[in-house]
Every structure is written in structure tokens, then in C-alpha cells.
């Protein structure tokens, strides 16, 4: 596999070596290889490397202790020992989150496949946030505590708005991970119902109006505002969640 000499069919030669070609293509590549020293050498080198890799004992199996622990209790989220006061979104979810999720009456709205997958991730993020002791970081109180808390934890400043006087108090924030990136998660509350709002910078910067979706008993709303992708998820009913979205969008 010399770095200098190359053949335009080298990736096909590799695909042949990896058994990715059908019989006709493979036969054609074999004929090509017979007359191409570069592909011949690459084939031999890949073969040698495969033997080296597979004979080097590099496959790392799960340690028995880890397997035992996960088999005994897959959801072994370490619950912090005796916390004096546990915020509601850290309390055991009981039947609240998981029950609704397991009912799983999946509703497909007109969303792109990418958005479909985001719907799943947002719901999972919400349900995850309801698990005991699982959040990476949580803080509470008002926006003046929440906003600076994100400084240095994210590569953007999330829009932190408090709607306490409108009946949707901001309870806290944390870091979450959605769609392959770190995002800000803001936690609001309305009549004991938690609302998770996820925000991260939009690649396109085009504002988009709110779109509703429903999944596993949760209502979701997605929009783009001021260059931020926003996803909101809650078990609140659709009209109340819509009111929250309207107020949040209007607030500064």
C-alpha cells in the first residue's frame, strides 16, 4: 500500500477484498488485478494486515464484572445516596415516563426521516431526564443562575427565558446530547408537568414556524428561531403546550 502509486480502482479492489462485490463485479476485479500491480500489492497488504490484526488478540470483550452488573440490573443508574431534597425531575419516574413510552402508540406526522429520528431522540432525552440520578448536571432557580451556568459548557449561548409570571416557571438546565452534538436542555414546569426545551444552533439559520408531533404519549413542538433549533417535549396536552410555545417565542 504505497502512498504514492495509486490506481483509480483501488477502492473497488478493497471492496472486493472485503467481500462487498457481487460475483460479476468480483470476477471483473480479479481480471483487473491480474494486470494491475498496484491492486495486487494492495490486496496482499490488506490480507497481511488482516492476519496481523486478527492474530493480535485485539478484540476486547466485556469484563465479566460489567456483564454481571448490567445483567443483574440493566437500568443500574446510580442513585445518589440520601439526598435531602431531590428535584422532581430527578425523582424515580414510576409509571409516569416509561409507562407512556412503552404504550408506544407511534404517530407519524409529516416529518422528514431526519426529523423522525430527532423526534425519537427528543422523547428519549425527555424520558431519560426523568430517570433518577441520571442527569449529568442540573441546576435550578431563575434565569440569572441558569444562563451563566451554561457558559463554558457549550460552544453557544442558549436562549434562557423564564415564564414564571405566565405560569411556566423555569426550574433548571442541564447539558444533553442530541443528534450527535451537545445541546442545552431547559426544564420548565406547568402544574406538575415537566417540559423539556432543547436548543442548539441551527446550521441553516432560516427561521421555521412551529410543527407539532406526537410520539409515545408525548407532545413535541419543533421550530427554528433566531438561528436556534428548538425542540420542546412534554406530556402536557397539546393546547397547553401550544400556549407555552407561543409565550416562549414572544418572550425576550
Amino acid at each position: 500500500m504505497s502512498a504514492t502509486a495509486s490506481c483509480e480502482r483501488i477502492l473497488l479492489a478493497q471492496a472486493d477484498f472485503d467481500g462487498e462485490l457481487d460475483a460479476a463485479q468480483a470476477a471483473e476485479m480479479e481480471a483487473h488485478r491480474a494486470g494491475c500491480p498496484i491492486c495486487q500489492a494492495a490486496y496482499a497488504e490488506m490480507k497481511r494486515m488482516r492476519e496481523d490484526l486478527r492474530s493480535s488478540d485485539l478484540y476486547r470483550r466485556a469484563p465479566a464484572e460489567l456483564r454481571r452488573r448490567l445483567a443483574a440490573q440493566p437500568a443500574a443508574a446510580p442513585v445518589p445516596p440520601t439526598q435531602p431534597r431531590v428535584a422532581w425531575w430527578r425523582r424515580p419516574a414510576a409509571n409516569f415516563g416509561m409507562g407512556a413510552a412503552v404504550a408506544a402508540a407511534l404517530t407519524f406526522l409529516i416529518l422528514s426521516p431526519g426529523q423522525q429520528s430527532m423526534v425519537d431522540q427528543v422523547v428519549a432525552g425527555h424520558v431519560r431526564a426523568l430517570q433518577p440520578g441520571h442527569l449529568e448536571d442540573v441546576i435550578s432557580t431563575d434565569r440569572h443562575t441558569v444562563k451563566p451556568w451554561f457558559d463554558g459548557k457549550l460552544d453557544f449561548a442558549p436562549p434562557v427565558k423564564d415564564l414564571r409570571d405566565k405560569g411556566f416557571p423555569l426550574d433548571g438546565g442541564r447539558l444533553d446530547y442530541l443528534g450527535g452534538r451537545a445541546v442545552a436542555a431547559l426544564v420548565y414546569e406547568h402544574g406538575k408537568h415537566p417540559i423539556n426545551l432543547f436548543a442548539w444552533p441551527s446550521a441553516g439559520n432560516l427561521d421555521a414556524s412551529p410543527t407539532f408531533a406526537e410520539r409515545s404519549g408525548y407532545n413535541l413542538v419543533h421550530w427554528v428561531q433566531d438561528g436556534m433549533m428548538i425542540w420542546v417535549v412534554s406530556d402536557l396536552e397539546k393546547t397547553e403546550l401550544g400556549e407555552f410555545v407561543r409565550l416562549w417565542r414572544a418572550a425576550s
Binding site: 500500500m1 502512498a3 483501488i10 477502492l11 478493497q14 471492496a15 472485503d18 462487498e20 497488504e45 490488506m46 494486515m49 488482516r50 496481523d52 490484526l53 486478527r54 492474530s55 493480535s56 488478540d57 485485539l58 478484540y59 476486547r60 470483550r61 466485556a62 469484563p63 460489567l66 456483564r67 452488573r69 448490567l70 445483567a71 440493566p74 437500568a75 443500574a76 443508574a77 419516574a93 414510576a94 409509571n95 416509561m98 409507562g99 413510552a101 412503552v102 408506544a104 407511534l106 425519537d120 422523547v123 428519549a124 424520558v127 431519560r128 430517570q131 441520571h134 449529568e136 447539558l175 446530547y177 450527535g180 451537545a182 410520539r215 409515545s216
Partner: protein, 175 residues
């Protein structure tokens, strides 16, 4: 968790693939403790995703979650920086064989060398090569797990192999 019945089907789907999950996590994180944390986190996430899982290809499904958890962990722990790959990928610095206490045993050294060199590959190349050569997965399966087009998988695999071969050769010449 309040769902014992569902936990059984969850375990049946996930536990058979724990070795694959750990192997990927171990080669992404490059140490055992972080890999254990990542796998534990991934299994927890998998449990919350499980209601939406349709039962196809549980191994690929779990490895996707493991990869996401590993990247999240790498991102949060700035110590384990991800190496981004440009077109002008420079060769990884071969490790000094003198560091290896078992350097006197030739065979052991060869085996350890392969692992050391593999660990120096940029993460995108490393994960692709690990899934192909150690997990023996198809291009399509690798593309799904790494969220990359098949063409990207093919070129990453080729660059991974070229880099590893060059690094092995450089180390050989050094002796």
C-alpha cells in the same frame, strides 16, 4: 425500572451484544475504565430508546448508541480530544518500543505493537477499521453505525489501512 417483563426482552436483545459494545467503546475511548462507563451509559440510553426499537439488527442498534455515548464522553472530557481528519492526514507518531516492558518478547511485542498503532489512528478511521476487521461488519452496517455514507466508509477504511501499514513499516525500520 418498573417494567420487569420488558426488561427480559430488553436483556435478550442487548446482552448478547455486550462484547461488541465493549470492544467498540474500548477502541474509541482507549482505556478500560472509560469504556465501561460508556457501555453502562449506552445500556441506560438503550433502555429508554427500547420502546421505539423494532427488533431489527439489535447489534447495530446498540453499537450506534455506544458510539454516540462515546463521542459525548470524549466531547465532555476535553482530555480525550477527537482528532479530526483532513485530506492531508499526517502519519501517526509510532510509539517508542522502548516504553514497552515486554519489549524483550518478540511475539508479545508484535501483538502489542498492532494494538498501539491501531490506537494512534484518528478516531473516524479507527472506528471504521475496528468495525470492519475486528467486528467483521459489512460496509452497510458500518455506514449505519457511524452515520456516514458508504463511500465515506470505503475511503476511511482505505486511509485507515494505508496509515496503519505505513506506521507499522516505520516502526519496523526503527528497530
Amino acid at each position: 425500572m418498573a417494567l420487569p417483563a420488558d426488561q427480559d426482552s430488553f436483556k435478550a436483545a442487548v446482552l448478547p451484544h455486550l462484547d461488541a459494545a465493549f470492544n467498540l467503546a474500548r477502541w474509541l475511548m482507549r482505556n478500560t475504565q472509560d469504556a465501561e462507563d460508556v457501555v453502562q451509559e449506552a445500556v441506560l440510553r438503550a433502555l429508554t430508546y427500547f420502546p421505539g426499537f423494532r427488533g431489527e439488527n439489535p447489534r447495530g442498534w446498540l453499537l450506534q448508541i455506544v458510539r454516540n455515548a462515546a463521542y459525548a464522553s470524549m466531547k465532555l472530557n476535553r482530555g480525550a480530544m477527537m482528532v479530526s481528519v483532513g485530506d492531508d492526514t499526517s502519519l501517526p507518531e509510532p510509539a517508542d518500543p522502548g516504553d514497552d516492558p515486554e519489549a524483550t518478547l518478540m511475539k508479545e511485542q508484535d501483538r502489542a505493537q498492532m494494538g498501539r498503532l491501531l490506537a494512534t489512528l484518528p478516531v473516524e478511521l479507527r472506528e471504521t477499521l475496528v468495525l470492519r476487521e475486528l467486528e467483521e461488519m459489512s460496509y452497510k452496517a458500518i455506514a449505519e453505525i457511524t452515520a456516514a455514507p458508504i463511500g465515506t466508509v470505503m475511503s476511511r477504511l482505505w486511509r485507515a489501512r494505508r496509515l496503519l501499514a505505513a506506521a507499522a513499516k516505520a516502526e519496523e525500520n526503527r528497530r
